[in-house]
Structures are given as structure tokens and as C-alpha cells.
Symmetry: C2
Subunit: 414 residues, 2 copies
């Protein structure tokens, strides 16, 4: 696709300059971009209104229209987000390791930008500013491709940012947005080898699957969370109740929300009626295995599909298990490698769970909702990696970098 080749070349050239740009220059450009977004509020809202109008005509649901909609406060929040990113330490040029070999070669492993980052996302205009700022801060050029419903809004934001960073002396092609909104342009971006160094999807399970299946550029999988909480027989049941209610109901649409509750058989009769009626009062739909349904008859039987499903809604799957080992086995079979928790007063079971569970974040006696770049203290988040290569769990700026070895010699040959 010609547009992508042109943008790829331009981004690659911009990345070469950005890699040599100082932290101060990057931060100045980001401050300018933040200010420019606020100054151009009216223009951005005008373009956003066109997106919203079209979305309404196409029958987009209320929730999605809300995510698509901007207003002065939301534009201010975007600008504030960029300003926060300027306050983070610059990850580039850190010497990660340094050693001298017996032949006197001096080897340094130095942190450098990835180069050109592709980001594919859905109809959320605010991701445009956030992704562009994270990439710029970490010295990367980015090629953004947003959902077509948010295209006019994202284009407005992109053009404001491009103008601001150009005026600040940085290459405007450090940030670009794919103009072609066809499905083909998304797939072409995933296959833009030679120009893109990585592609990161930010969105739902469908988008992520499309990227995993189609990308020939290295991709980072993010975000699907079929998260479990296992309540052990030794659990403090009051603590367990608080955590389960928090993890399930505080924000059910996010990837670190609880989707499944596993309960040890010895406490099931005591704990389940209490927690499940509490969840039910909060509007949570409950499906369960045979034992759970027998103990709490208002639950409906879970299907085999339920155990692997991320609901992202006020719904929970409940299963009674015989042991910590059985809980571990179930989680490692059905989990999505995101966040898993055990509630227990047994140090032995806690350690076993921490060691054996295969997930980005494994909790003892805390809510899965803490799997988040800000909660972990990273100050920013590109996403939550649920794969094992490069980055796992909440990804801060460092996940947008790589290293290279620089080697100084005085004529060494092998």
C-alpha cells in the first residue's frame, strides 16, 4: 500500500533523528504539543462532532459513543497526560551493562529506542495523543492507525501534534496517522516489515487476535484478562469478600477485573452464599459448576465455554475446587496469563500459587485490579503485555526501548 510505504520511509528517517535527540528537546516538544492541543480545542471538537454525528447515524451504541466523544475537559486531560509523560525519566542512553573482555574489548549495552512503532487502536481519540507522546518520549517515531469511527478526531489531534513538534525543531514525521481507514490498511501496517520495528494493538480481544494472526512485524500482545481469584480454605473470608467484590465490580469492563471465582470445597458452603448474594445485589450475573449451583441455587449452570471467556461485564463464573493444586491446574488451563490471585492465610499455599501460576501478575491477598502501569509506579502505561517476550505485565516507557551493544577495541581480530 503506497501510503504506508511513504509513511514508513518518512517515519524511519524521523526515527533516525529522534534517536539522537536530547531528553530536553523531546520534553520541550511534548510540552508544546500539550499546549497546542488546548489552544486548538475548538478545531478538535469540530472534527470530533463530525465523527460523533456519523457514528450516531450508523447506530453506534451509547457506550462506544461516549468513548468516542471529546469535550474541553477531555482535551485538557489529554494535554495533562502528555505533561505527565514529560516528567518521567528519559529511558534512552542508560548503560544497562558494561564489561571488558580478556582481549580488552570494552562492551557496553546501551538502551536505545525501538525505532518505528506501529499502534493499532479502536475508536478512542485520546489514545492518539497518549500513544504519540509515549513513543516520542522514548525516542520512537510512530505510525498510528485508529478505528475509522474516530478518524477525523484522530487526524485533528495528529495534525496539531505534528505542527507543534515541527515548530519545536523535531521531525513532524515522528508522528503520523494512517489516512486510509480500510481494513486493508490495518493489515498492511501489520506487514510493514523493513519500516516498522514493532506493532502494538491497543483494544479488545478481536483486534488483538487479528494482529497476532496477521502481523509479520514483531507484535506485542496486550490486554485480554480472564482473571481468577482463588479463595483457599485458610482464607480470611472477610478479606476474601472485600477483594472479590472489588475485583469484580469496581470496573467490570477492564482487563484486570475478576472474571472467575474458585473456592476451596471446605469453605464453599460457608462462603459462597454470602459472597454470591453480595455480588448478586450489585447486579452481577452468576454462573457456576454443579457444586456451586447446588450451594447457591440462584446461579445458572456454567457451560464449558464459560471457563475460558473474558466477560468484561457484570458476570462471574464460580467453581468449587478440591485443593490449591486443582485451582492452579484450572487457572493454568483457562487463564489468559494476565492476573491471578489467591486469598489465603497459609504461607505454603501462597508460595505454591506464586510459583506455579503462569501469568504476568500473581497476587496473594490483594485485588487483581492493581495490574496497571500507574498502580505499579511506572508513571505511564502503553498496555499490559500478556505474552512472554520482551515485556510482561504493565508496560512502561522501557517497553518501548531495546538495547544495542557498543564495542570499543584497538585492533582486535579473532
Amino acid at each position: 500500500m503506497e501510503e504506508l510505504i511513504i509513511k514508513g520511509k518518512a517515519a524511519k528517517a524521523a526515527a533516525a533523528k529522534l534517536a539522537l535527540t536530547s531528553a530536553d528537546a523531546k520534553n520541550t516538544a511534548l510540552c508544546d504539543a500539550a499546549r497546542a492541543l488546548i489552544e486548538n480545542t475548538e478545531y478538535i471538537l469540530t472534527e470530533n462532532a463530525k465523527d460523533i454525528e456519523a457514528a450516531k447515524q450508523n447506530g453506534m451504541n451509547e457506550g462506544l459513543i461516549d468513548r468516542l466523544s471529546l469535550n474541553p475537559e477531555r482535551i485538557k486531560a489529554m494535554a495533562d497526560g502528555i505533561m505527565q509523560i514529560t516528567q518521567l525519566p528519559d529511558p534512552i542512553s542508560e548503560v544497562v551493562s558494561s564489561f571488558t573482555r580478556p582481549n580488552n574489548l570494552e562492551i557496553n549495552e546501551v538502551r536505545v529506542p525501538l525505532g518505528v512503532v506501529g499502534i493499532i487502536y479502536e475508536a478512542r481519540p485520546n489514545v492518539t495523543a497518549d500513544a504519540a507522546a509515549l513513543c516520542l518520549k522514548s525516542g520512537n517515531a510512530c505510525i498510528l492507525r485508529c478505528g475509522k469511527e474516530a478518524h477525523r478526531s484522530s487526524m485533528a489531534i495528529t495534525s496539531v501534534i505534528r505542527k507543534a513538534i515541527k515548530t519545536a525543531g523535531l521531525p513532524e514525521d515522528a508522528v503520523s496517522l494512517v489516512e486510509n481507514t480500510s481494513r486493508e490498511s490495518a493489515v498492511a501496517l501489520m506487514k510493514l516489515n523493513g519500516y516498522l520495528d514493532v506493532i502494538i494493538p491497543r483494544g479488545g480481544a478481536g483486534l488483538i487476535r487479528t494482529v497476532v494472526e496477521n502481523a509479520t512485524v514483531p507484535a506485542i500482545e496486550t490486554g485480554t484478562g480472564n482473571c481468577h481469584i482463588y479463595v483457599d480454605k485458610t482464607a480470611d473470608l472477610e478479606m476474601a469478600k472485600n477483594i472479590v467484590i472489588n475485583a469484580k465490580t469496581s470496573r467490570p469492563s477492564v482487563c484486570n477485573a475478576e472474571e472467575k471465582l474458585l473456592v476451596h470445597k471446605e469453605i464453599a458452603e460457608k462462603f459462597l452464599p454470602d459472597i454470591l448474594s453480595a455480588l448478586s445485589e450489585k447486579g452481577v450475573e452468576i454462573v457456576g459448576d454443579k457444586t456451586a449451583c447446588a450451594i447457591y441455587p440462584k446461579a445458572t449452570p456454567a457451560t464449558s465455554e464459560d471457563w475460558g471467556t473474558e466477560y468484561l461485564a457484570l458476570k462471574i463464573g464460580v467453581k468449587v475446587v478440591d485443593s490449591t493444586d486443582a485451582a492452579i491446574e484450572h487457572i493454568n488451563k483457562y487463564g489468559s496469563l494476565h492476573s491471578e490471585a489467591i486469598i489465603t492465610e497459609s504461607p505454603e499455599n501462597a508460595n505454591k500459587f506464586l510459583q506455579a501460576i503462569d501469568a504476568a501478575a500473581v497476587y496473594v491477598n490483594a485485588s487483581t485490579r492493581f495490574t496497571d502501569g500507574f498502580e505499579f509506579g511506572f508513571g505511564a502505561e502503553i498496555g499490559i503485555s500478556t505474552q512472554k517476550l520482551h515485556a510482561r505485565g504493565p508496560m512502561g516507557l522501557k517497553a518501548l526501548t531495546t538495547t544495542k551493544y557498543t564495542i570499543r577495541g584497538n585492533g582486535q581480530i579473532r
Copy 2:
């Protein structure tokens, strides 16, 4: 493909056990496997002879037959390689970072195995033992898929290793070899999502391209090296000559060998006749740009394709450039992100080159041949990553690991 699903399930179950296996137990099993390979020399050679016989009948060339051929010394070398791996520190369980959040959540980032590693390679039986040992040492199960010409040899080696590690108390499915040798089985392995955590190709450019284009499992690109040496106008020309001869001729078939020579115009007339006749005497075929051919008429004109080609042979492309900047631009355009070198006495040009070149290893005044896990002191090498995600440059055991966050709380909710 049913075989792969079965092997995938078995490997995943084995990986869950291996992740909890102590360093001592892994090392004991590896020592036993090394001993078993020597004890079964006769059996392995019998199977290898069948592969060689078939290869000869199919007209395989001498070089490839040599790489396919085993003898008692080569089996001993395989066993020694495994014993060396047992001596390396265990990368698993290292606490990479540790911090307590203001809400008292204690977060540890702990090094853990990747899980199940797929390795696709060509007709080199020794890779079977090497890959299996590296994976086992780092706590990973592996599914190997070798070139069909080496299948009987690799199957013999795999069965000896499986028996040895089983006797040592480890799951035999920690190591398995795909029995189906069709092209389809290779592609199916690259798409074995849900079972494989990573796929690593070990072989030539064609194999790597096939993996990059087909894999839906995260892949690590390794090994293509279109390596340049740039001789700056300030270079010590005697040093430059030694380094170029070493980098080009010491082992032309490997990925860290020099493929291109760039020379600053101010020294071209002095340096080129000397170095090119020296290379020519060592049997190196020389192609050059216009200026190089004018200075050294025995060179033949390079085609535009030459600049991007990894010869892996006694052939070199020569180009005269106007400046360090021009050399950097050429290398960043045509290089394969592997190893690049500048020969210079100018600290300014050295620094500029180190900063601006986009490659896994960037050298000042040393041969590109040092890009190698053993030369870097890593003690072992799975390959040399030429991509930027996860691992870059020579990959030691750490490249076969990931991390997970373990979080301990006392009832925290969000």
C-alpha cells in the same frame, strides 16, 4: 496437525514441572544426558549413516554433508557442550526488581522460564543436543523440528536425551522432536499458539524469512548478517587491513563475517589497492562501485542488489564514500541490523558512528567477528538476534526466560 497438538500438550505439562525443578536437578539430568550420548555413540552413528546415505543419493553437496555428518569426536563435542551448559549459572528465580508501593503491596519481578520453546533448524544434528540442553537448563520444555535430511540422526539424539532425563526424574516430554518431516509440520509448529510461547529459527535467511512470514507464535529473528566495515579517513590503515582481512576471510560462511567494505574517499587511492590485492590473494571475489573499480580495475561492478546481499562466501562489495555520515546512511539503509564497524582514530567519528548506527553490535576498531555469545562471555549462545524485541545481539540463557510479577498484600483493594 494432530502430532503437534499432542506434543504441545505434553510439552506444556512438562514445562509446568520444569519451572519448579531445582538447578541441581536440571544439571544432574543434563550430565546424565551428556554421558548417555557418548554411551550411545554407536546407535547414533548408525542412524546418522542412514541420513548420510540418503543425502548422498539425493545429491546433497559436500559442505552440507559435512554439516550433517557425525563421528565419535563430534558426539563427544556435543556431550562436552552440554557439560559446559551445566556449569553456567541458573537464570531462573533471580529477583530482577523489588519494590513496595505506598499501599504496602510488595511487588517482586522474578525471572521464570518462557515455557515451551519451538526451535526450527536445518540438517545439523548437533543443534538437536545444543538446543535441548539450553532449553532444559533455562527451565523450558522444547519442541524441536529439524531439517528432514537429519531426521534419523536427530531422532536418535532426542530419544537418548529423553531416556536420560526421564531416568534422572525429569519429564521426558521436556524434549521432543517433530516426527512429521513435511513442510506442513514446520508451518503448523509456527502457528501452535496456546502451546508454544516462542519460536526460534536457527538457520539461513530462507528459513528465517519463512518463520517471520508464517509464524503466529511470537518469533525471534536470528542471524542474517550483511555486515559492513567503514574505514574512516583517520584510520590506522595497518589496523584496518588486519581487521578487514580477519572479518572477511577467517570464516566467510558465518553471520558475523564482513560482507561490505566502505572506504573514505580521501584514503581510497592509498588503501584500496593494498587491501583489495591482499583479499584477492586470499581468493576473495571483489565487486565495487564506480570509484572503487576505477582505483582497482580487477574489481567487477557491483549491481544494486549487491549492497543488500549477505554473500556468506569469499566475496566482498566495496564502496567509496564521502564522509562518515554517508557511511552511516548507507549502512542504515542496507545493513541487516547485525554487526557494523568503523576503523578510525577520530573520537568524534567513533562516537557518531556508535550512536547513529542501528544494529545489534556496533564496533570501533575491532573485527565484526566478535559478535558471538562465547566471545561476549555469555558462555552459551542460542543465536544472534537481529530484531529489537526481547533480545538483541548474542542471546545467552537469559534470552530463554521471561519475568513475572509476584505481589503480596494484606487485603488491598482498589
